[in-house]
């Protein structure tokens, strides 16, 4: 905040103040641009770069409320700054200000307007909850996810081995692109959380409770996921990958895994698809 100026020429004071603020904002923008140049706004778990419909919906909802919040926040900051500069005491002998105890109309307005705005936000929220919480489509690929301290296992209920049990893989979940995936989550020990930020937000893996969610990948690539509920000493390293492939590649990978499992040999290390 500006120190009280001895001169009463507050107009000039405010103008240089706003110049300084503008400069500050420009500097900040410059820093931000610089940082974004060096991948500061990227990374394999960036929720701003969704690779599927669920994450995209979540990002859009976030952007809606973030932009709205930023506008409100900046307005509050602007008024606050103006108040601090304009109404600052310039000398201890300043006449006492007018004693205003309140203004019922103003207060009703700033109670009711935000309430209406907030209720407005409830609509996209509930719509989103219902959409993300709906049952997966019939043609969804079913995957049972088992979380255990500190690893992930994936079982494909639709693809059975010769002995009749589902195909089971560790740490890497292969999925076909553009197809809904229905995951059912199982924990054998404590609570974990299944999260692939670029594809879908979290769902907790709770013992004795089979949580289910759907998501899809709309772009080929490898998506990074990790446990997002503190589960003990190696929580930080409880990671997995989701690899979205073309349906053909996916079928080939499944076949390869089935053959390997049926032969009793450990499955060959999976190929990394190029790029994201």
């Amino acid at each position: 905040m500006q120190k009280a100026r001895p001169t009463a020429n507050s107009l000039v004071g405010t103008r240089t103040g706003s110049m300084r603020r503008l400069l500050g904002a420009a500097l900040l923008l410059g820093i931000v641009a610089l940082l974004s140049g060096c991948d500061a706004f990227g990374g394999p778990q960036n929720t701003f770069a969704p690779g599927g419909d669920v994450a995209e919906k979540q990002r859009n909802l976030f952007l809606l409320v973030a932009v709205l919040g930023a506008i409100i926040g900046l307005a509050v900051f602007a008024v606050l700054l103006y108040t601090m500069v304009h109404f600052r005491q310039r000398s201890p002998d300043d006449p006492p200000p007018k004693q205003v105890h309140g203004n019922q109309r103003a207060e009703l307005i700033w109670t009711i307007l935000p309430a209406i705005l907030m209720i407005g936000l409830a609509f996209p929220t509930v719509e989103g909850i219902i959409d993300l919480g709906r049952d997966p489509k019939d043609d969804a690929l079913k995957v049972d996810v088992t979380a255990l301290r500190f690893a992930w296992q994936f079982e494909y209920a639709d693809y059975l081995k010769d002995d009749g049990t589902p195909l089971k893989v560790d740490a890497e979940l292969h999925i076909p692109v553009d197809q809904e995936i229905s995951v059912t989550l199982h924990s054998v020990d404590v609570i974990h959380s299944f999260a692939v930020p670029k594809l879908a937000g979290h769902l907790d893996v709770v013992p004795n409770r089979s949580n289910r969610m759907w998501f899809n990948a709309t772009a080929l690539g490898t998506y990074s996921g990790q446990c997002m509920e503190f589960c003990g000493i190696d929580h930080a390293n409880m990671k997995f990958q989701v690899i979205a492939q073309t349906p053909e590649d996916f079928d080939a990978w499944i076949q390869e895994q089935l053959d390997a499992a049926n032969a009793g040999a450990p499955p060959a290390p999976p190929e990394q698809p190029a790029g994201e």
Binding site: Q45, V79, M84, F87, R88, G102, E107, S193, G201, Q226
Partner: protein, 641 residues
């Protein structure tokens, strides 16, 4: 024990009488041990909480050092988990809550024109139990083996202690036991203090001070105290279940035996969300006192601020499951809690607008206390707005348990509570020490804090959106998190520097010769009518209250255009006719301390050896017994109260 009776001639009764007499003669440091004076207890709360603040801050710095760069190796995963658990637990239960309690103790009797709280010995008991609980919790650092080899025994289940991770199967060792017993002990202190302030505020107001003539801080204390007495029992039940599970294999949270882990989450957050408001409402009360004084205007819309505070108190009970959106409660529950979370933003917003309305049109004195309050408004606005993003449930599925959440609640608890508490410290420091804190150092402190705070926590918001989970001891490079973590760590050290400036300020200012006087700020409420520091009896004559901000109205009248007119012969009446002689004050007592010592001993007993339970029980019962038999007035003294 029940058969023990203290007959007048029995050795037990004699011992109690001796202890009582002894307490009355304590001088110097010892007189603090037996004090029941709310101002001394308030100061002890403040100093103790600040000491824990330093401990929790050091834990935070180690956490930030570890995460400054990818693959950090300052500490290992095990130590890291213990450090963040203790950081969270300490800052909430041993810093912000007791700092608020310090303000309650120091200010409530003065603001309502009373000589002490309703139950002075219960007040001392609250403090000693809090201290015992805090020490007990931190002793755990040393019980894990050789601390110099990094073998810490502190709890490692997070401040939220989710079952079943906290059960013996996954958390062997005694860390979680310390955590659960520690919180139980602290709960006793909070409950006692909550009841004490409810009774004090409702019964001990000066004549004429109706509820709607109470300073806003008193209102917020009342709401907070009700929240405390309703919320603490909820976590007490949850902790008892956890302790029974750990000590006696109870199966509340064990799925194999039909228990359910989510039971813990429901109870914890049913406590946990009111707890958030327990932490923030006192801060809002402080700001509502500071802003009118330094803008020389009454609080804008006092009834709105009061009622929004009460509304927050009620609504805080209906939002707990917004901590649980991702546990799979289903669309109906998530929608209901999403909407209730949206709605609680409204009364919070009302307060922010009212504070700005208070500043608007004022004659704003830019000093450190005001700057911290304005900083509070700005940072708490960010906290509130990021809170609204959480009510967008599907979007929150992404942010749950990421650094975005860490950023959000530090906006509220540091940018909110801590900034407001500092504002209160600068504001009331002269009242209780007789010395003003240095303005120059204060401004350095403020700007360092504000800049450091923003450098620390705004990058965390971005980290969360880039998918960085909370509570990870390390991360690999290539995640895009490096730059932001480095900035956050830099900011954390800046905050640490600002705290050093503050401590230096306190030391320098206490040594200064310049007296603050009774009313250095031209303030509004009753505490400024009496000398600084106040005499033990506070008010030589109990004031009669006619207005909200009664002291202000004694100094100034308002004409019809709302202009101030000084009142002739108004102002501080620091010099009273009476010198306080003949005012009966409660006698000092050490029985609250003796009783408080019993609690950690009981807890040690349950953890290590039941023999200690017996020792603890003896302390507790002896303390309570002596306390109960203490006469209101000493023998031979004519009881006049």
């Amino acid at each position: 024990m029940a058969s023990v009776t203290a007959q007048p001639g029995s050795p037990l009764a004699q011992a109690m009488r001796d202890i009582r007499r002894q307490a009355g003669t304590y001088q110097g440091v010892w007189s603090w041990i037996a004090t029941v004076d709310h101002k001394r207890i308030g100061l002890m709360y403040g100093v103790t909480a600040f000491t824990f603040f330093l401990a929790g801050g050091i834990e935070a710095l180690v956490i930030r050092l570890q995460l400054a760069a990818p693959n950090g190796n300052v500490v290992g995963a095990d130590q890291f988990n213990r450090l963040f658990t203790m950081h969270g637990t300490t800052m909430i239960f041993l810093v912000v809550m007791p700092l608020s309690a310090a303000f309650f103790n120091l200010l409530i009797p003065l603001m309502i024109g009373a000589r002490d709280v309703a139950f002075p010995r219960l007040n001392a008991f609250s403090y000693w139990v809090f201290l015992a609980g805090g020490i007990f919790m931190n002793v755990s650092f040393f019980t894990g083996g050789n601390i110099f080899k990094g073998e810490l025994g502190a709890p490692d289940g997070g401040w939220f202690g989710y079952a079943p991770l906290t059960l013996n199967a996954f958390s062997p060792g005694h860390g979680i036991d310390y955590w659960a017993f520690g919180l139980q002990i602290l709960g006793v202190a909070s409950m006692a203090s909550g009841f004490n302030f409810i009774v004090t505020i409702l019964n001990m107001r000066a004549p004429g001070m109706t509820l709607f003539k109470m300073p806003l801080f008193v209102w917020m204390t009342l709401v907070t105290s009700f929240l405390i007495v309703f919320a603490m029992p909820v976590i007490a039940v949850a902790l008892f279940e956890l302790l029974f599970a750990r000590l006696y294999d109870a199966t509340f949270f064990t799925t194999a035996a039909g228990g359910t882990p989510l039971l813990w989450q429901h109870m914890f957050w049913l406590f946990g969300h009111p707890e958030v408001y327990i932490l923030i409402l006192p801060a809002m009360g402080i700001v509502s006192e500071v802003l009118p004084t330094f803008s020389r205007k009454p609080l804008f819309g006092y009834p709105f601020v009061v009622f929004s505070g009460i509304a927050i108190g009620f609504m805080s009970w209906g939002v707990w499951a917004h901590h649980m959106y991702t546990v799979g409660l289903g669309p109906v529950a998530n929608s209901a809690f999403g909407i209730s979370t949206i709605l609680i933003a409204v009364p919070t917003g009302v307060k922010i607008f009212n504070w700005m309305g208070t500043l608007w049109g004022g004659s704003i004195r830019m000093n450190t206390s005001l700057l911290f309050s304005v900083g509070f408004i700005a940072m708490f606005t960010i906290g509130g707005l990021t809170g609204v993003t959480h009510s967008m449930v599907p979007s929150d599925y992404q942010q749950q348990d990421t650094y975005y959440i860490v950023a959000h609640f530090h906006q509220v608890l540091f940018g909110g509570a801590i900034l407001a508490l500092f504002s209160g410290i600068y504001y009331w420091f002269p009242k209780f020490t007789g010395r003003l804190l240095s303005e120059r150092l204060g401004q350095v402190h403020f700007w360092l804090t504000l800049i450091g705070f923003n450098l620390t926590f705004q990058p965390m918001m971005i980290l969360g959106l880039l998918g960085m989970p909370r509570r990870i001891y390390s991360y690999s490079d290539g995640m895009g998190w490096d730059v932001w973590n480095m900035i956050a760590t830099t900011g954390a050290f800046m905050i640490a520097a600002s705290i050093l400036v503050f401590m230096y300020n306190v030391v320098v200012s206490l040594r200064s010769k310049e007296e603050a006087g009774a009313d250095p700020w031209d303030a509004r409420t009753l505490e400024w009518t009496i000398p600084s520091p106040p005499p033990p009896y506070n008010f030589a004559e109990i004031p009669t209250v006619r207005h909200l901000d009664d002291f202000w109205h004694r100094k100034y009248a308002e004409n019809e255009e709302g202009q101030l007119v000084p009142v002739v012969a108004g102002g501080a009446n620091g010099e009273h006719a009476s010198d306080g002689h003949g005012i009966h004050m409660p006698s000092p007592s050490v029985f609250p301390l003796i009783a408080a010592i019993g609690f950690p001993l009981l807890a040690f007993g349950f953890i290590y050896d039941y023999a200690l339970v017996a020792v603890g029980a003896v302390f507790l019962l002896f303390g309570l017994y002596g306390w109960a038999l203490e006469p209101a007035t000493e023998e031979g003294e004519e009881g006049a109260h």
